[in-house]
Symmetry: C3
Subunit: 399 residues, 3 copies
Amino acid sequence: MAKFNDLVANIKNLDTNKMYNNDFLQTWKKNDAEISATLKTADALRDLRERNISTKVFDSGLGISIFRDNSTRTRFSFSSACNMLGLEIQDLDESKSQIAHGETVRETATMISFMADAIGIRDDMYIGKGTDYMHQVIDAVKGSNEDGILEQRPNLVDLQDDEDHPTQALADLDHIIHKYGGVENLKGKKIVMSWAYSPSYGKPLSVAQSIIALMTRFGMDVVLAHPEGYEVMPEIEDIAKKNAEKSGGKFTKTNDMKEAFNDADVIYCKSWAPFKAMQKRTDLYGKGDFDGIDKLEQELLQENSQHQDWSCTEDMMKLTKNGKALYMHPLPADITGVSAEKGEVDASVFDRYRDELYKQASYKPYVIAAMIFLSKFKNPATVLKQLEARGQERKLSEE
Amino acid sequence: MAKFNDLVANIKNLDTNKMYNNDFLQTWKKNDAEISATLKTADALRDLRERNISTKVFDSGLGISIFRDNSTRTRFSFSSACNMLGLEIQDLDESKSQIAHGETVRETATMISFMADAIGIRDDMYIGKGTDYMHQVIDAVKGSNEDGILEQRPNLVDLQDDEDHPTQALADLDHIIHKYGGVENLKGKKIVMSWAYSPSYGKPLSVAQSIIALMTRFGMDVVLAHPEGYEVMPEIEDIAKKNAEKSGGKFTKTNDMKEAFNDADVIYCKSWAPFKAMQKRTDLYGKGDFDGIDKLEQELLQENSQHQDWSCTEDMMKLTKNGKALYMHPLPADITGVSAEKGEVDASVFDRYRDELYKQASYKPYVIAAMIFLSKFKNPATVLKQLEARGQERKLSEE
Amino acid sequence: MAKFNDLVANIKNLDTNKMYNNDFLQTWKKNDAEISATLKTADALRDLRERNISTKVFDSGLGISIFRDNSTRTRFSFSSACNMLGLEIQDLDESKSQIAHGETVRETATMISFMADAIGIRDDMYIGKGTDYMHQVIDAVKGSNEDGILEQRPNLVDLQDDEDHPTQALADLDHIIHKYGGVENLKGKKIVMSWAYSPSYGKPLSVAQSIIALMTRFGMDVVLAHPEGYEVMPEIEDIAKKNAEKSGGKFTKTNDMKEAFNDADVIYCKSWAPFKAMQKRTDLYGKGDFDGIDKLEQELLQENSQHQDWSCTEDMMKLTKNGKALYMHPLPADITGVSAEKGEVDASVFDRYRDELYKQASYKPYVIAAMIFLSKFKNPATVLKQLEARGQERKLSEE
């Protein structure tokens, strides 16, 4: 309970005014207090749940999910977050809707929101498209709320766009904060965001970008490593640079995986498609040139196959600090000999860190719940105390 | 609160006995008191929600949806209605069920209803089939309840059949009642239900029919306009005629869109397929003659393309009362230059009325909730007062 | 209420310790006290619900369903069970997940379980595979809970595997117990589990096996009847034999349907595929030999068509005790002249027993709820009394 009180006291001192009745898109649009409040609120909600205290702040209401890409863990994380706050999940399955009928985003967004308090969207397939779409949804529901059409304004949670994966990166951050016993202990720690080989094509850049943009805010020594040609978006690199300067950390790039791994505290190792290729794909998609997309895919697969040595092997891990860096991955990973002949990581490395990886993932539902919570309450600290005082059991206790 | 008290007092004076433990299919099966009670209850439930008072009358229980045609807004309206009453939505996805296995409607209906309090069905594709199916479901669950198989009888809400679209028409009616400041002010107002061109084929007749059958009950001057050959069902025209006589209103038909629009107060403009063609399609469907259906489609598209001038253009709108008739549509609309090259309505007309159209749609969740509510309680007025007195917050208030 | 008190007193005297925080797979893994506690708890929960007393023991939390085969009634039964306990249903739709991405069962199971209290799985297609899969899921979530990754351990309910269909057989058992006025009255009653002709191929063996394995525990005279070649798994026959010896009942086999029906009290009549063929199919599946599977299917259909005389006809029913044996089926049935030209049962037989069949099915939601309930509470009797004392209304009562 001391822990809970500390968290609440902390949240009370953070300015969350701008989060109220607002949305959570990219982390770089949020200031440090807001990032901190999100993690503290996630921890406080988790603490309540662990003490069997209900965190239902809604007695009814909907949480809408829109997944424009397949998802298991983010889908269930969003569902879990809504459920623990008292919102019922409704998925907008675009294949069963009349959206093909030609209606606008503005219209659909309003039509599904009459009783919606939160909307979670994953749209990460085409550069610029996902973020665009989210802004269209936000403008629609905000406008419809102001015009008296919607009684409440549903607030949006970005469940992955084409640039950022905020719920992932914040769950990752919460994990390493707990690992190192406090955000202050991240200062100077070397974290490597490395590209890794996967036989599949065209994975989003957003995880890599979310990591370099977020971790540079805490004084970490952030290294981005990838083969030549696998650049991420220059705008995001700029954000990382500026964050590093401001926080007293570092942001460097290398095409040498070994150099990157050397003496690292944390290894984050994942495949992504080159930004330029993604942009080309987006252009082709815009023109409806699906043959062009297929051709591009062949080229990329060809290029991709040249870099099978970029893998988080046991040998590579030995290069890290005391050979014991924390290995991270957003999951699912392409594991050599398990889910792929050659993949992002050795099976033995993955197995050794399995529990850590699952713990890393366990923060996501709470991070999402915190984002919704902070968008709904002006005084989140007060409401958290109210919930504790209410003491409603999540599961009936045996007398 | 005065508003709420007025609504409750009103409902108290209406005889809703026959609605209790009953179903809501076509509006013409309900008497005036029942129609009125539905709208008043919808308004009262909305008022409670706007005051953050929970309308959950169920602590658990299911609301089952069966959509035999794609849907976004009706799907979410039903979900919202169930959620605000405390029922969890379960969709019967016929593609994931064993229904193809040859089981009867009677069996399926019972099997999904052990803990169901409400069932919402949309089945509007083939003349006579949708209503038939709904009656089969009703007979099944009623029988199973009487035989002691089901502990409660789920009550059915018709989310659109092949003849009527009651939740749509009642939401529309609620919208114009609010617009004109009371049902008494509808008397003498001219409302046009006009066919409009859409490039797509075979839209249900049910919206057009639901409008002429319902609006004639309130002394309105109802005009049905369509090109020759686009007749609706004669039975429904008869209902409209009788309603108009009884209510002191008018029901007229014309093949001249301009004549119809002249001096109109309300314009409802929408594509539908000719009744005779729909009946032919139903016959072909009955014979499993899918080639015949394709051929019929070609003929209809050919015929349809002759009527591109039937569109709610700016010029047409100028003919209406002061050029300012209220434009209505069930959405999504085929908008010229937006969702179709040539469509039902000019983009500028649609845009000018967008907020009104969305408000129109916003009544639907409450109308559905009211239908369920009235089927569940003998004394709806009393229960509404109970809910207000209970004062359970929908969203936790910050202290 | 006397009934409820009796049930609770009964449950109090049964040792359910091993059910706590455990899973429900095959019935033969549960001892007699555990089987009895499941049925009594199902009846007690039903009694509470019939008295409009809420059985919600969770204020939030998820119940996850995984259906690897189509399902209507089991799906809705699981949904209903979760809902009445306060868990929101989330379906893991493997086609919308990233499971194809190559992740392990261990990973998926953990990732969906952060806020899950129950998991229901149906996986009955390939011999040995379903049970295997369930054990993998159990091991995963148990391990993840012990390792501090999951705050609670979701408990698994087997919604049908390739060997057993425990929720079906227990619902069936509860039905005949109520029919005969007590489990003690089952002693000596003759129940026939007979194969029946259906034009479709490869139905699971699990219902037949679940019936012979469960009903032999209560002193019944259990007869397994099928054409030569339609043997069930020898291991399950062994279980049935041992159960019959222990309970003072009988377990016999015959290839003569008439002999089986003679003087029977209960007739359970259903198609299944021969165990050996199912094993062969499983082997072919393991090798990815889909041509082989097709060829096997043709052979089996050919063989199958030889046994159209195995049907529960009126003439067959006349052979049973006073011509009035209780006819049972897990539904949906292949009814001659209704859902198949020649099927498992005559339409007139089916119609005469329709109400009974639906009542039989009505026990399933409560049986599943009981399984979850017993996995969640150390002292189920106490909690049932707590629920009654709490007296929360399921549906708001009109004052």
